[in-house]
Amino acid sequence: MKALVWHGKEDVRYDTVTDPSIENPRDAIIKVTSCAICGSDLHLFHNLIPAMLPGDILGHESMGEVVEVGSDAKGSLKVGDRVVIPFTIQCGECEQCRKGNFSVCRRTNRKAELADKAFGHHTAGLFGYTHLTGGYPGGQAEYLRVPFADTTHIKVPDGIEDEKLLFLSDILPTGWQAAVQADIQPGDTVAVWGCGPVGQMTIRSAILLGAEQVIAIDHLPERLSMAEAAGAITINFEEESVIARLNELTGGEGPHKCIDAVGAEAHVSMGQPDTILDRAKQMLLAENDRPHVLREMIYACRVAGVISIIGVYTGLVDKVPMGQAMNKGLTFRMAQAHVPRWTDDLLRMIEDGRIDPSFVITHKVDLSAGPEMYRTFRDKSDSCIKVMLRP
């Protein structure tokens, strides 16, 4: 089959690989009908996340049709079922799965020993990601083996196009969780840093949850225009001071809820001098991430406010003002999205027309164009915000 394969930093190739096969009675194989490139794939593209190996198949946003089912998954899946595959692999039985904390499932990370050393305690297995999360082959491919398939799928109805359903795999529940873990209440002012695909979903989620005022922060005009389309007030951080404008919009008190949809790779510019130092440290392997947004959120947030972190961080960060955070009494919530916890609610909202996630797709191409699209998406050229791939 064909697949997008990681070969090293900035080196993704459209390779011919062997077909996946059932390994475990709980496995299933799906024929991928649609998949997408995620912002966190760019962290892999940049080799910022450790423990990637040449030959790893990328992709954790995919959907398709079931073509083969292991004996133990037959009770919940059958050949021909149309499914979206969550980026988190969950057993559905462990202590954390039973609590709804699917992204920290205790049983699906097949390289748990390695991950224990890196994280202290391992997290769930993820598709198309580092070997710290199991090194499972991803879904930017013609076929995908789904481990723990009886619990790792979202059945979706016929009659709704892939474009509207595909993002149940990641960015829609991720943006939704960003808003939910900020505990958005009607009347709140919510500031969202980063208007990439997850930021865009977060903005819509905040509106749907009743935020009075949503403020979107970025510097790319196309992303800001997409944020405005959902009713957000926008701040272009290259043209105005984020702190001054946030204070102006909130009577000097700051937003109630601040959401980081940027994570490890904050934009580097002279206007944000801390990012230059962070970038230099990253090159020297003295720091993993550029936590500019985290610093700014802590400073900007209203006292006793909530900081929600959904942008991916990869490791060590420097100069995070914990004194400000502690003295202001801020609450921090963060996690990789616990996808299946939210997908019933989100599928219902798609079906009854409260949200249509397809708005975010700016590029729809054949899987063979994947390597070029990684470049386009990373360079933010051609106003690219979200790439959907068809195998």
Partner: protein, 195 residues
């Protein structure tokens, strides 16, 4: 043996393996930049480890400290050249090339018995400078985002009922789960205590 075969030991039996490599996301200028970055490291180490030998070969005796400093500069340029910010590294390399050519000009004086070696070195540095310039402008052209190119997506709300009508629409059948509440638990207790 291809690297992807070696890394196969980290995979399970049913995992797909690479059979044939296809087109890459790396462009020609990216590959050239990478090669120049590794060249920088090699040259930098040579300048750090054997400055005396280089000085004698070029007739630049007494400049060993300067050659060692250039070694540090080469390695410092290599770090960004090998990173995703390769244009920063390549610009730094081009500046370094100018310094190298200026220094080699001293060795081209007529009374230098190693003048021929210096001439060869100068020709090599000119060649490398051209490669640096090609890589710099090549990567800039391949990875640039045209200024003012942002498309207008203001018709893409994703909220079929409109932004204003969608405000709070999820609340009709969704409440923030108890384990995700951040404010309520504290706020509910306050009025009783104040009373």
């Amino acid at each position: 043996m291809p690297l992807t075969n070696v890394t196969g030991i980290a995979r399970s039996e049913g995992d797909p393996r690479v059979e044939r490599k296809g087109p890459s996301s790396l462009t020609g200028p990216d590959r050239l930049a990478r090669a120049l970055g590794w060249f920088s490291i090699g040259l930098g180490i040579a300048e750090l480890v054997a400055p005396g030998r280089i000085a004698r070969t070029l007739g630049l005796e007494g400049k060993e400290g300067l050659i060692r400093a250039y070694g540090v500069r080469e390695i410092a340029s290599a770090v960004p050249t090998l990173s995703v910010d390769k244009q920063v590294g390549l610009a730094s390399r081009i500046g370094g090339d100018a310094l190298d050519l200026g220094t080699l000009a001293l060795a081209l004086r007529s009374d230098n018995p190693k003048r021929d070696n210096a001439a060869i070195a100068t020709a090599l540095v000119v060649g490398i400078t051209l490669l640096d310039l090609f890589a710099y402008f090549g990567t800039k052209s391949v990875h640039s985002r045209e200024p003012g190119s942002g498309r207008d997506y203001s018709d893409r709300s994703g909220l079929p009922r409109g932004a204003q009508a969608s405000r709070g629409l999820a609340r009709k059948d969704f409440d923030i789960p108890a384990d995700y509440r951040a404010e309520g638990r504290v706020a509910h207790a306050v009025p009783e205590r104040a009373a």
